[in-house]
């Protein structure tokens, strides 16, 4: 029973995190996949070279000069959110659990409208390069930026580890390369994109990858559905016949076992999106609030469509992959899926499209990881150079050239760090890091960001204390949770019973922030509250907002 609970609790984590958290066995070299992947890398490096020539100012480097259109940015945001994990993890979850997988998928989606309604345009109107710009708008620059950089870098580092380990495992499995080789390739290519091409290159890599992923996923779904005469009813009948869950796959079931954990996870996901620095940063790449809104609409449409495609893949794999002994260890249909539980979509690709299509989809999955990792590294580097170096150390008077240089060095350091951490964590189960990442994003970054935009009463001391409370409580709860305290550290029972902290840490962060702010009667606090009205005018009208530069 306990095992079932733990594995259930890990499911959503796996889905986001990453492809293959379980150790994957190495496969023979897959030359088609490698060739296609190298075409992708070569193509994107040409784009990087082109982007490098256009990247002159700090604004070019951080936000592509604000010159990305709403539609392009929408695709790039969708790319940031549709990781290889979504394709592989979610489809595998639907394959294994049926309807429960679909319920999780819906939860991954619902945060997006909230970002559109409450965050997107104010973010664009108030900020320039990082979300700390907004959080520190009327508060103490140095203190709040330091906190925001802390929050951003924590999220970026944990998310990088998850992606690097996922990449290593996936590549080992799909391409037949050694784990460290795979991790080094991802790290090095990422550094090239970010240091030379900045946000322009990162955006285009993300766009190309989003298009490939959407096209690949859709083609796969169409080919799979053609076996059922494009009828979901036929598919459902066949699936119920062959799946060991029987009729159970058509309704919610096992996820009811731990509703509190499920609620906590869904809260973390819904509000964590609005605290992920690499997603927030994307809103500064468009020229104005209007395009920012448009870009979330486009992104939401693509992500929603893709999630429905992924659910279709999961259900059709029940019939196509689930009845074919070729895709099971030792040909045992009741046994384990060959190559690990997350490989269902890949097997489906092989079953309906042969080796060539499998190679294509593998290359797309690898490209996806590369693109997500680049976005993360750029967000982390901006936080170091723009928040810490330019504003905290130089007090906002940094020389632009030096600032870009610092940013590039930071990107290289983050890349090297990602490679080292990726190799260190090879054998570790990193699923808990996803709960942690979203938990921190929802408990530290999100409360401060939303309160700074909407609540006049917020003061520096409130934001600082509340933010750190959210950060520390989320980390502590995850350390004491079953997935770390029991699975990683090997203790008997967990001290904190849930893997996802947001249900507890997020309200705690809000409470501390609000109470401390209300009790704050310093002269500075009065000034900060008074400054809200002017901030609101800019948030509403966009007067004074950073403009796009055309060149």
């Amino acid at each position: 029973m306990k095992k079932i609970l733990t594995s259930l609790a890990m499911m959503p984590a796996l889905a986001l995190a990453g492809p293959a958290v379980e150790a994957a066995e190495k496969q023979p070299l897959n030359l088609t996949a490698i060739a296609m992947f190298f075409i992708f890398v070569a193509g994107t490096l040409v784009i990087t070279w082109w982007a490098a020539r256009r990247t002159k100012s700090a604004s070019d480097f951080y936000t592509a000069g604000g010159g990305i259109t709403g539609f392009q940015n929408g695709l790039a945001i969708a790319g940031d959110y549709m990781s290889a994990a979504t394709l592989l993890g979610l489809s595998s979850m639907v394959f294994a659990k049926g309807y429960d997988g679909l319920v999780y998928t819906v939860g991954f989606f619902v945060g997006w409208p909230v970002v559109t309604f409450l965050i997107a345009e104010r973010l664009r109107n108030l900020g320039k390069y990082t979300f700390a710009d907004i959080a520190s708008y009327r508060l103490d620059q140095k203190k709040i930026r330091t906190f925001a950089a802390f929050g951003s870098l924590t999220v970026v580092c944990f998310y990088l580890i998850v992606q690097m380990v996922g990449a290593g495992q996936l590549i080992k499995l799909l391409f037949g390369l050694d784990y460290p080789v795979a991790v080094v390739i991802v790290g090095v290519v990422m550094m090239l994109y970010v240091t030379f091409g900045g946000m322009i290159a990162t955006t285009w890599v993300q766009i190309i990858k989003a298009v490939l992923l959407l096209a690949g996923g859709t083609t796969l779904a169409v080919m799979a559905m053609s076996q059922f005469g494009f009828s979901y009813e036929t598919l459902a009948q066949r699936a119920v016949e062959v799946h060991k869950g029987g009729m159970g796959i058509m309704a919610p079931g096992s996820m009811l076992a731990d509703p509190v954990n499920a609620a906590s996870m869904s809260l973390g996901l819904v509000f964590g999106i609005a605290g992920l620095p690499h997603i927030l940063m994307r809103f500064f790449t468009v020229p104005n609030a209007r395009e920012a809104r448009k870009s979330v609409f486009v992104a939401t449409g693509f992500i929603g469509f893709f999630f429905i495609v992924v659910c279709t893949l999961g259900f059709s794999a029940m019939v196509i992959v689930g009845t074919n002994p070729q895709y099971f260890v030792d040909g045992d249909l009741a046994g384990k899926i060959a190559g690990g539980g997350n490989m269902v979509a890949m097997h489906l690709a092989h079953a309906v499209g042969g080796n060539l299509f499998l190679g294509f989809l593998s290359a797309v999955a690898f490209a996806t990881i590369l693109a997500v990792v680049s976005g993360l590294a750029l967000a982390g580097a901006s936080s170091i150079s723009h928040d810490i170096y330019a504003n905290v150390i130089c007090g906002g008077k940094a020389d632009e050239k030096t600032e870009i240089k610092v940013s590039k060095i930071a990107a290289i350091v983050l890349g090297v760090l990602a490679i080292i951490l990726g190799i260190m964590f090879e054998k570790m189960n990193v699923a808990f890091l996803v709960g942690l990442t979203f938990g921190i994003a929802a408990s530290a970054n999100f409360p401060i960001l939303i309160l700074s935009m909407y609540w006049k009463g917020l003061t520096t001391s409130g934001a600082l204390l509340g933010g750190f409370t959210g950060l520390i409580s989320a980390v502590t709860m995850v350390v004491l949770s079953p997935s770390v305290w029991v699975t990683v550290l090997g203790h008997e029972t967990a001290i904190f019973p849930y893997d996802h902290p947001a249900l507890f840490s997020m309200p705690l962060a809000f409470m501390v922030t609000i109470v401390v702010s209300m009790l704050d009667s310093s002269a500075q606090a009065k000034k900060e509250r008074a400054a809200f009205d002017d901030q609101l005018v800019r948030a509403q009208t966009g007067i004074g907002a950073a403009a796009a530069n055309n060149h």
């Binding site: 559109t116 009813e233 058509m250 609409f297 939401t300 005018v537 007067i543």
Partner: protein
């Protein structure tokens, strides 16, 4: 100088109209989307047998599948609704406010 602009904007009734309309729309839609999603989660938690009802007489595809897909579509449609209203009505009002403040 910039404070003057801000003061003038704040005293413009159109500004209050814009701020009021926008915040009602944004918070209203947020509440709507979250209410629909959490009602769905409540349904998942309390009456899974309802979600298991076959969509067609004698079929097996359950009503829960289109409901799940509908929630994704509904959330996206709400986004579209907001963006459309903001890009036309709100932006028009906003442009007038900025114009009047610069005079």
């Amino acid at each position: 100088m910039s404070n003057n602009i801000n003061d003038r904007i704040r005293s413009n009734p159109k500004y209050r109209e814009l701020a009021g309309k926008r915040s009602r729309t944004a918070w209203g839609l947020t509440a709507l989307v979250l209410a629909v999603y959490y009602s769905f989660m409540l349904l998942v938690g309390t009456s899974p047998e309802f979600l298991a009802t076959p969509l067609f007489e004698g079929g097996v595809l359950s009503i829960g599948v289109p409901i799940g897909a509908f929630i994704i579509f509904f959330a996206w449609a709400c986004t579209g609704l907001y963006v459309r209203r903001a890009n036309s009505e709100f932006d028009r009002l906003n442009a007038e406010i900025v114009e009047e403040a610069r005079k």
